[in-house]
């Protein structure tokens, strides 16, 4: 077992003929993911790395029975790609695309809330169930199967931590990058809940950053509901207040969302705090 995806997950790639879509399709196939199809309007009938391309998600789902989709299309088109996936019956949608407008995401978020849909992202590295499936852009070699659940707002910081765990012999159940945008499909609490319920997961790593209050909410959830040990790292202790740091999740909002606040809240929930992401292995040992 693992969460969200495993070796039975049938994946389609939206934007498969693009530069990133094509490159990562190959990487996902090499990792062992069941990539059953791709979608690029107007290119139906072509093949990419042995994967058939369809014109619409609907036709791809009908032909392949896909139950998951990954989105690599450009930001102005990503919201429609998400709507299209959902309307075609996809239950797990992972949106890698960076730079989606927040007003668009609010509409997507509202639309999805009605259905039984799981959206990861956007602006995220996707997820990796070591040894089973990779739906995203995480380098596959950094992970190995095991019992640590990893959840993170930040993409590359996730790689650091997963790599450090693997180097120390600690394998992972599933690694999930939820993205740091203001509005995202799946938040810390959703994933923590899944890890809490997943028999394979024994301990959890959480990586947050300054801005917003998602880590505070996570701390409250952990205190109230988690029986499994959690260790955490919060990026941005040295970031000056009020300065935009790359993505919107990293705006320090007047007196709220500082690293100190978040660390205090997590500590109060019994979470062990790492000062350095390479410290996780010793905290979890």
């Amino acid at each position: 077992m693992a969460i969200l995806a495993d070796k039975n997950t049938k994946l389609i790639v939206q934007g498969i003929t693009g530069r990133e879509g094509s490159f990562h399709t190959q990487k996902m196939i090499e990792y062992g993911t069941q990539v059953v199809g791709g979608v690029t309007p107007g290119k139906g009938g072509e093949w990419v790395h042995g994967v058939p391309v369809f014109d619409t998600v609907k036709s791809a789902v009908e032909a392949t029975g896909a139950d998951a989709s990954i989105i690599y299309v450009a930001a102005p088109y990503a919201p429609d790609a998400m709507f299209e996936a959902v309307d075609a019956g996809i239950k797990l949608v992972v949106c890698i695309t960076e730079g989606v407008a927040v007003s668009d995401m609010m509409r997507v978020y509202d639309y999805l809330r009605d259905g039984n849909i799981r959206l990861i992202g956007p602006n995220c590295p996707g997820l990796l169930t070591p040894g089973q499936a990779k739906i995203g852009i995480m380098p596959g070699y950094i992970a190995k199967p095991g019992s640590i659940g990893v959840v993170s707002k930040s993409g590359t910081l996730t790689y650091e931590v997963v790599y450090a765990l693997t180097q120390s012999g600690l394998g992972q159940s599933t690694c999930v990058g939820i993205g740091g945008d203001p509005v995202i499909g799946t938040n810390f609490i959703d994933v923590l809940q899944m890890f809490e319920e997943d028999p394979q997961t024994e301990k959890v790593c959480l990586m947050g950053e300054i801005g917003g209050r998602a880590e505070i909410d996570a701390a409250e959830f952990i205190k109230a509901n988690m029986t499994k040990p959690v260790a955490a790292f919060i990026a941005g202790r040295t970031a000056p207040q009020g300065t935009r740091m790359g993505h919107a999740g990293a705006i320090v909002e007047g007196g709220e969302g500082t690293a100190e606040e978040k660390i205090d809240a997590l500590r109060a929930a019994g979470v062990r705090i790492a000062d350095n992401p390479e410290q996780f292995p010793e905290l979890l040992a």
Partner: protein
């Protein structure tokens, strides 16, 4: 992207929000002429993209045109939190009976826009939030339905606004929301929205921040961007699609991903201690190609405070070979003796390292972990390497 007060007000006015119009002056003489034409006492307001103008002396009342010239002369060229004032807005002084706070922003946790209002306007809303949080009335907005009049009415009632002003207030709130949506803003704020002594509602100030991710469909707003206040490296970084923030330290950082960039900064401080820390935040973003990496490196090396540079690239969508080519490209154009600590990992990291190694650069050192990289960068900055 931040708008100036006068730009935000123009945008509000376009959507029917009654704003106190004024005119922009670049010189004290122009301010004098505007004040003379207005023929009433005026307020001279610094136009800078930063808060706290009033406290810093950037907003002054002038009773006469001569006084307006004098105040404008004092304000133009002054520095407010590091921002030089290049323009002032001259507006007629208003007779204020009551000050209200009104804004639309996004509640990320709820995934919805949020209308916030308070009868305690005219002061910083953060102070109200801290001292008297119940004075701030919040109303979520359905992104599909938009702000409804009854919601604005509920807010007006909750903030204790006199009933005679409800209709005008609701209209302003709905129009402010329309400007927020139509401009792809992440913040549209009026502080203060005043009730004048003529019993009319009027926006005396305006603030607007546009979602950078939506600028592709807000070209008219993007064209209004004021870069006069931005240092060249910020302009170059933005043009190249890099996220760059200058900091006070001496260790240049080039990283892919905002979270890892902040982490890398934190590590340089953790191992650097007093006097050593990050010279900048720089996120090359996902999937950066050689040209972009080269521009990033040129921007970092252009900072005379930088004593060492830490490259921390953990490739996912970004590929190590592309980064390596970008580093070599930049060093070919701008040779440097500054120590470079290179840590590549993830997608195509091996190829990247091979490419750099093949160039045989004397000032390059490699690290395999982030900890080691940060430690090396600190040592290099201290001249201990």
């Amino acid at each position: 992207m931040n708008l100036h007060e006068y730009q935000a007000k123009e945008q509000f006015a376009k959507y029917g929000v009654p704003v106190q119009t004024g005119r922009v002056a670049n010189t004290a003489e122009a301010a004098y002429n505007i004040a003379r034409e207005m023929a009433v006492p005026v307020v001279v307001k610094a136009q800078v993209l930063v808060g706290g103008r009033g406290k810093a002396g950037g907003i002054k009342l002038a009773q006469t045109p001569e006084e307006a010239r004098e105040k404008a002369s004092a304000i133009l060229g002054m520095s407010i939190k590091g921002h030089i004032v290049h323009k002032v807005l001259v507006v007629p002084a208003a007779n204020i009976a009551k000050e209200i706070y009104l804004s639309v922003t996004n509640d990320r946790a709820a995934g919805k826009p949020l209308l916030m209002a308070s009868a305690e306007g005219g002061v910083e809303i953060e102070i109200v939030a801290r001292d008297n949080p119940t004075a701030i009335i919040k109303q979520h907005i359905d992104p599909f339905l938009g702000l409804r009049e009854y919601q604005a009415r509920n807010v007006a009632a909750a903030m204790g606004l006199s009933r005679e002003h409800w209709r005008a207030f609701a209209k302003i709130a709905m129009n402010l929301y329309a400007s927020f949506v139509g401009s792809d803003a992440v913040l549209a704020e009026i502080n203060p929205l005043v009730v004048t002594d003529a019993n009319e509602l009027l926006a005396l100030d305006g603030k607007m921040i546009i979602d950078d991710n939506a600028l592709f469909r807000q070209q008219a707003l993007e064209a209004q961007r004021d870069v006069s206040d931005d240092p060249p490296e910020v302009i170059h970084a933005r043009d190249a699609g890099l996220s760059y923030v200058k900091l006070d330290g001496n260790i240049g950082c080039m990283v892919n991903g905002a979270g890892l960039a902040m982490t890398t900064m934190d590590m340089t401080k953790l191992y650097g201690g007093e006097g050593y820390g990050p010279a900048n935040f720089l996120d090359i973003g996902g999937g950066a190609q050689a040209d972009k990496v080269a521009m990033a490196l040129r921007i970092i090396l252009n900072d005379p405070q930088v004593k060492s540079v830490l490259f921390n690239i953990f490739g996912g969508i970004t590929r190590g070979d592309e980064v390596a080519r970008g580093i070599l490209q930049a060093l070919g154009e701008v040779p440097t003796n500054v120590p470079l600590i290179v840590r590549l990992n993830g997608t195509n990291a091996e190829e990247g390292r091979r490419i750099i190694e093949a160039a045989n650069l004397p000032n390059v050192r490699y690290a395999s972990t982030l900890t080691q990289a940060a430690q090396l960068a600190v040592q290099a900055a201290k001249g201990e390497l």
